[in-house]
Symmetry: D2
Subunit: 336 residues, 4 copies
């Protein structure tokens, strides 16, 4: 951490600050110049509140050098984490395809989609039971009933299931769910993150609409610091001024998050683009950028889907896409 | 609602669509041109899912004309709503000043700040007990103990209190709180909004970091559609690419939200700017733009505040600011 | 175009508006509902100024349905445009690699890089002579001398050259340049675009830092409407709140621009990421998303480059990358 | 400037770096810790290219501490600059109102508006002759003829005139123009800025749509480093994801730019909001935030304006607004 002092900073206050820092086992190196004085703080500064320093009368600015996350940080955990979800691995060089409808609508629908995506090569089933909708007047999901239908589809196909939890109070209902999804709008629902940190379920953590990489990793840190290290990060598009697409897929998130963290990183091309015709190019780009997996919306009848129809692939398109993704994944593994 | 059809849209499918819309009491006006056909849907389209239409094979695009919010909409409720919070009015032409520390730290601190801001002209007390922090390693607030201290400060000064609730499970603790704050990161925590819609407490709803006006009003609609119409909207800065300020205060939100909705609109200049020296100009701008109130961080000892010290005003600066705001508020009420 | 009228719009004014529109060969279809009246305008509305309509007292809102660009629009030109740059084709299914240093620094440097990238598979040379720098105190490029050095490198290697023009007055110097680059900051320098529309040089048009797809296509339209249809679009990252990367590569721009327009679309992974280690994954993603080419910064000595060193690849890394991109490009052409 | 070294940085390379820095009269202070080594560079680092350092193999990151602008920097020029425009002062505590139509349309129009705004209290006239339009098919302004009409209006009323220049080649036409406007889209047209730096005309420099405060100040620095220190900064709204308003007025820009720089700061509420009904609240907010002036679009017949009609005030509304702004300006000057 670097502390830049104001010109003519009071010597007494400076002395107090240095003593306080040294009492926290921080070494302080002073660089005195004509127009500025800089303190270099060396040691474990993660416990120092940057706001506290910033508020001091003698301080002009504070710049952090160390990352504020530890458990999610690749520096302290160089090898890739592989998360096991009901027997399916995510991370470590493989490509995991998760697919299914936006919403669970009926037993027939979820079972048909599950069988279809399994046949095409998906190894996990997604489907929304509790649905975050911007309007209170929109379909809110089948909720507990939807979870039950997902469990039936899991029994039929053997595919592990992932679905979104919207509130701590729903946790007891998720016992048979293999991976719990935290939606983009809940990425900084800190009480929820803490509660999930006390479970042993794998967590699929979606990046918030306007969250930075660091904020996403700090959200993962909330879960991990509670004891649950089975976190999968998901890039699903950020909000920009472009309105043609639903969101803007930040493809750089894949290599950057994998550099900063050891956690697996997957991509949701369906919510990122918001249009089914963008799903194949965005999925291909994600695999080429090094993603550990994809979570794709597939619906057997997108025109009558109860939500997000426009961004769902039909099963036959999904089948072709998985073949192409496999080719790209192989190309990426060639060494030169 | 306007539906733009694809070129050469199938006549049979078009007939089905029109019949379905008419069965929902929507009149359909068809405009057939050489290069495009447009359907004008007239009637109450709030129950029509725009995604459903968009997913149809024959549809190129759908544009909404009616606002998706009803209870929050000024069109259906032309006069200003005035929210009563423990005897203090927000809205309807007055200027309500809410002030207090970022975090409740001790009985001495909260009582001292409460007395000081009351003497300067504040009519409500703010103070964080449950604190949303980006790092799990930062101070998380005094939580239930903090609420108790706020209640003591309320007893001492008679000021109604407003404080943030982070999870539904905390609701029982908030019985003596006069107004419940929903933080920016929880603005689209829909389960929380639904739960608050079932209470009769006034709600201070902060705009999300990257939320649009419409999304903020839809969040209010969630609360109001549950039966609780005592909602106060709060602009607190949005995220942009500018990093000098903590957030970018969207001052236009004040006149726009007041045009679109009848709900009171207040401004949080402390979180918007993130620096105490920006609080006076941003507060002045907010009053000049027509805000119904302000929520300002004041701390008797910002240099030792446990959070957000750099953005807190000292009591003497707050005292001067309130005098200036009163002058501006009077100027704004002059008629020409 | 759709015109939504205000409630109780004056009948006389409405009659005037309809007559005026009809005099412009626009058919007007009126949809009258209880709470709103909608006019559907059918015909060629590109010449109607949307602002003029919006300013009318009786108008609530206007929504455009037709795209405002014609010459760049795929609707009126379904087949891909292939731009010929000194014998090298861009567009139409091939993958064109343009490479070279950020700045031309010396004859030795530019010739060495040119030979190296040619050997690795690049078919065009890039290099900056006129440099747009945010600081007046930074190196501004070798300017006219740099152009001369590029021409020497072209003679040595046979590679066509592309370089940035910053002002109309520089045009005469660009006679031997094969493709003229318009930088992101000049994308809406309309006088420059008009001047380039009068030349017959291929133009590499970079997307502005916060431009929409439509604005980029309208900038292309400026050039094309002047008579020069040899325009290549370039996605080079947009500005977002994320500061870890220099810009945020909007990978969706590739499939979307190719859907909306017949012009070739290439990607600049070097400026998008701003870090050399991001160039391989972003290049791979661009090819997988369907880009017609890439423009990549390569420097034989990035540590001593006079600008943008951190984002330049070394020749050996570039060599490996081109091999991988070729594999991905082949995979993308497989049909299923 | 702070240089953070990579772990296990090569000692030889580090020695070379330190020698090179010392040869540039930079003192280097080394802080060696267990997990990181930091170099504090003390001295005039504006000539050190941050990219050069960043590209070095041994460097992890570089953080700048000094501002990169000098001539625009308040640190080196503490007192307010007052720019004299044809006898009218901008800056230094007064409130300067500039008003006029978006486009000059005819002699009658510009003279009528000029007389009207003068009578209401404006002290300068604005009006577009060269118009930057996103579409090549939109009205591009009367160009040279428009300048001539502005000069006639100036003769009639005595009001100094400000109008936009779009290309260096237009400079000779601007001899009688009192202040030259650089539009938002040209804020980083560096060749244009350099050319304006060689003139002695006051320059109205508008902030780019997605520019930071620092970039705006660096654009001013381009002009000032050429010898022309008569620069007035103008906040006119930035691009965000909110689409209800044309742009988002960044009201914080006023106090922040005035803190960082000694140059006058004015606000353009018309382009910021894009709707005439937002002009009064945004203008009021700007004055309350400390702006040195406003540039407001006024049209005697906004419904028939050739551009930007929806955001123009009618003369009677402008007249009332100026009275209100005067009241607020007086309130702001009260001392407590």
């Amino acid at each position: 951490m670097i502390v830049i002092l104001k010109k003519n900073a009071d010597k007494g206050q400076l002395g107090n600050l240095i003593s306080w820092l040294e009492s926290k086992n921080i070494q302080v190196h002073e660089s005195i110049g004509e127009s500025e004085t800089i303190l270099g703080l060396v040691g474990d500064t993660t416990t120092i509140d940057i706001n506290l320093l910033n508020a001091l009368d003698i301080v002009e600015d504070v710049k952090r050098i160390q990352d504020p996350y530890k458990k999610a940080n690749r520096k302290f955990h160089p090898e890739d984490t592989v998360v096991n979800v009901g027997g399916v691995s995510i991370g470590g060089g493989s490509l995991t395809i998760i697919a299914g409808p936006c919403s669970v609508e009926s037993e027939e629908q979820i079972c048909a989609v599950a069988e279809s995506v399994k046949a095409s090569g998906a190894s996990m089933l997604r489907g929304g039971a509790f649905k975050p909708r911007t309007s209170p007047y929109s379909f809110q999901g089948l909720r507990a009933d939807g979870l039950r239908l997902l469990e039936i589809a899991k029994e039929h196909t053997g595919l592990p299931i992932v679905t979104e939890l919207m509130d701590i109070s729903q946790l007891p209902l998720f016992e048979k769910v293999d991976m719990i999804q935290v939606g983009a709008r809940n990425m900084q629902n800190f009480e929820l993150l803490k509660a999930l940190g006390k479970t042993d379920k794998p967590i699929l953590l979606k990046r918030g609409l306007s969250s930075t990489y660091e904020e996403l990793l700090m959200a993962a840190e909330y879960i991990m610091s509670g004891g649950n290290e089975n976190v999968v990060l998901c890039e699903r598009g950020i909000r920009t001024f472009e309105t043609y697409t639903r969101n803007t897929l930040d493809i750089s998130a894949v290599p950057v998050l994998k550099k900063l963290s050891h956690l697996p990183v997957i991509v949701d091309p369906s919510h990122a683009g918001g249009k089914y015709e963008l799903v194949p190019p965005l999925s291909s780009a994600a695999v080429a950028a090094g993603a550990d997996g994809l979570i794709i919306e597939v619906h057997n009848d997108p025109e009558h889907a109860l939500c997000d129809g426009p961004q769902s692939l039909k099963p036959e398109s999904f089948n072709k896409l998985v073949k192409k993704l496999s080719l790209i994944h192989n190309a990426m593994r060639e060494e030169f």
